[in-house]
Symmetry: C2
Subunit: 270 residues, 2 copies
């Protein structure tokens, strides 16, 4: 095998499983190559990925060490992605009345949520989280992709307790948008007590659901170390949770003109 | 930029968005390189991916032509993945009684469902599907990953009709496992009449839910051209849908010994 081949293969394998640690010997065995030569391949792969802003290769020292790929979205691609999201959101026929709007096509678009997930993964990389949590249903795709980028398990809080979840813990919470009491439940097997979670969801108005997820995680002694949402409405200004990282802010819907303001969160480009 | 750099970048970019067509000029602009040189890079990338069984690069002719990456899982990796799935499924403490068992940790494991999705995408690649459909909740991750590999939109059928789905069509269906009448609903905006769908789900017993999804799609004049499930129970032998492609077959649960037979579908390796 030539260097070009080995570098290409390293990039394909590492980037398929972001944040997963591969030992150098894994590649030595795969290529039938010496460690010194694989080290040079990795250096070449790292160099080109950084230059092209296509991600980062990190070296982890120690017995269990090796290399891992940190997925990164370039500023240019993040900018393009958020502009696309903003544009598609502002299509007028999304407005359903009662302050609701249709977003399922966006939340179930794998390329769009993959890009959003890369932004979240980048932002929450160093929070020391042990899992990514969300509540069914529309937040699952972006939360899954974020969990994939971070190589963490995904925890899905259910609206109802299902037989197939085994024993569960349930809580009641106030949904901000409907001001009604709703229920959510989480399987006792789903999380490790004492661990840390990032909460990812598709949309936040007052923050009732996300607060609910935070509370149900707290029942398991799981600490929330970050909250990311694709879209946050500007109002109410006072949310039920703090330190939320939204990608897009949404102003109030004018049901007559069928328009609303949208603004990209500039913190994405810090 | 050197050849190694360009080949590595091509592999990273193409494989991030499987099945998406990129024009050669995209890479010419990105690298500031001539078409002849990019063509040689692509040939080198194609060659190495095939040799390493890491995927395939296809050329599409014509004005809208270009190249695209077809994600492929090697026989060895598929074998490892299914053995892992089988092993993790057979952990005895999954059995919940009443024939139910806990699988959420597997269905929400992004690396596992990514591998399963690669098998599905490979199997259903040439079916001419326009979308991937599933029913909430546990099938969403594997269906999303399959939709990503095929670069198709994901359509999620809901258990209840939600305000945020706009106008919906609902049907009743008989759930095989509980023999009860249940409801499912699909937004009118979610599918294009006259198009084709692949249905992907996590688990099938009698096939009631999948049959329901097929029926609700048919209400929109959407034809089902393939059905894939991660796990299918061996009984009942007679399912409510035909031509299902499962990855794992599951025998009956012996609740006393807390064991059940599992068998990998050998068709995966045809």
């Amino acid at each position: 095998m030539k260097r070009t081949d080995r570098v290409g293969a390293i990039i394909r394998i590492l980037s398929q499983h972001p944040n997963k640690v591969y030992s150098l010997s894994y590649f030595c065995d795969l290529f039938g190559a010496a460690k010194s030569s694989v080290s040079e391949d990795v250096a070449a792969a790292r160099d080109l990925l950084e230059r092209m802003e296509l991600g980062r290769i990190e070296t982890i020292a120690g017995a269990k060490g090796g290399i891992r790929f940190i997925s990164k979205i370039s500023r240019k691609d993040a900018d393009m992605l958020l502009k696309e999201l903003k544009e598609r959101l502002s299509e007028g026929n999304r407005i359903l009345g009662g302050g609701f709007f249709y977003t399922s096509d966006l939340m179930f678009d794998s390329n769009l949520v993959q890009g959003a997930a890369q932004i979240f993964a980048d932002y929450f990389l160093d929070k020391g989280a042990d899992c990514v949590a969300t509540i069914e249903t529309k937040g699952i795709p972006v939360a899954l992709m974020t969990s994939h980028m971070l190589n963490l398990p995904l925890v899905v809080v259910r609206r109802e307790s299902k037989v197939s979840e085994g024993s569960t813990v349930s809580i009641n919470y106030i949904s901000g948008s409907s001001d009604r009491i709703q229920k959510m439940s989480l399987s006792k097997r789903a999380v490790t007590p004492g661990s840390k979670a990032i909460i990812i969801d598709d949309f936040m108005r007052a923050g009732g659901s996300v607060r609910g997820v935070q509370d149900i995680l707290a029942e398991f002694d799981v600490e929330t170390v970050g909250i990311g949402v694709l879209i946050a409405s500007k109002k109410p200004e006072k949310k039920k949770v703090e330190n939320v990282f939204p990608l897009i802010y949404m102003g109030e819907v004018d049901e007559e003109t069928k328009t609303f303001d949208l603004a990209i969160n500039s913190d994405v480009f810090r």
